[in-house]
């Protein structure tokens, strides 16, 4: 009886582990996509960390939270940070290329154009700052 429970427990762990691995793979794929598309977004890499911010005109949290957070961050970091805002309704091709499924979505790229973080949904200034510090 206990052997059977143990076997079932191991099987459950394997299935859950597989699920976590699959989720991690999806996120990695999203970052890889962003990395491949970063070069096409900039004619020349800005040589500084960049935030690629996807939004739409009718996205309320973008206006009330995300943009103010990015503005604050830009003011704070000055020319040490590049912020690229993309209207997903104007550029659905880019939203598709980058795998954006909801707005706001922010991608953080390091100075070499490598996509390091993706935030699906609102990312507050503190979180963005924390992520930027690790770049």
């Amino acid at each position: 009886m206990s052997t059977e429970i143990l076997l079932r427990l191991v099987l459950a762990i394997v299935i859950v582990g597989f699920g976590i691995f699959a989720y991690w793979c999806v996120n990695q794929r999203l970052l890889l996509k962003a990395q491949n598309n970063a070069l096409s977004l900039f004619s020349k890499l800005p040589d500084k960390p960049a935030i690629v911010y996807f939004t739409t005109p009718d996205c309320v949290p973008c206006k009330t939270i995300q943009r103010p957070a990015l503005n604050k961050l830009s003011n704070l970091m000055g020319d040490k940070l590049e912020v690229v805002e993309i209207d997903a309704t104007q550029r659905p091709d880019l939203a598709k290329q980058w795998g954006v499924m909801s707005v706001p979505t922010t991608f953080l790229l390091d100075a070499r154009g490598n996509a390091r973080f993706v935030n699906n949904g609102v990312a507050r200034m503190e979180k963005l700052m924390e992520q930027l510090q690790t770049l």
Partner: protein, 164 residues
């Protein structure tokens, strides 16, 4: 993505429901308890009839008052989430029926499908049942009239309240 009448939906109650569905179903699998699967299906069924998340009562009576879980109120449509629970109820009912009839492989596969979809919703913020609802709405199926919140991919959790 048209103008719409969104309601305040507390996603914490939905998450509590999902976590209980996941936890109890996994325990049912580990301890080979088909009665537990049937119990989860029953709770989801009652929740569907009452138009509330089945295990939501635990959130309302224990988790929220004690402060263990905080409300996460977002502008959203409650209907897709109700539909999602009905889909889960159907799967778990089919699963528990299969288990009682001796078809344990089919029964546990159906149970694990519910676990996987509830996990995707609870941890990934993506509600497959809601996505199906919005597809049906797009196909003008009667009874499926709501559109996803503006700027949100059908099935994805809205990320912040409009009133924040």
């Amino acid at each position: 993505m048209t103008s719409q009448n969104l309601q305040k939906v507390d996603h914490s109650i939905l998450k509590t429901n999902q976590l209980f569905i996941i936890g109890l179903s996994v325990l049912a699998f580990i301890f080979d308890q088909k009665y537990l699967v049937a119990f989860v299906a029953l709770v989801m069924g009652i929740g569907s009839i009452l138009k509330t998340p089945g295990f939501g009562i635990i959130y309302k009576s224990i988790l929220k008052p004690s402060g263990w879980m905080k409300p996460d109120v977002l502008d959203d449509n409650p209907e897709p989430h109700r539909f999602s629970q009905i889909v889960g109820f159907v799967f778990l009912t089919a699963g528990s029926t299969a288990l009682f009839l001796g078809s344990s492989v089919l029964g546990w596969i159906l149970t694990w499908i519910v676990i996987a979809l509830a996990s995707l919703n609870a941890f990934g913020g993506f509600c497959v049942g809601c996505m199906v609802y919005y597809w049906l709405a797009r196909l003008n199926v009667p009874g499926f009239g709501k559109q996803p919140p503006a700027g949100i991919f059908p099935g994805m959790k809205p990320k912040a309240s409009a009133n924040v």
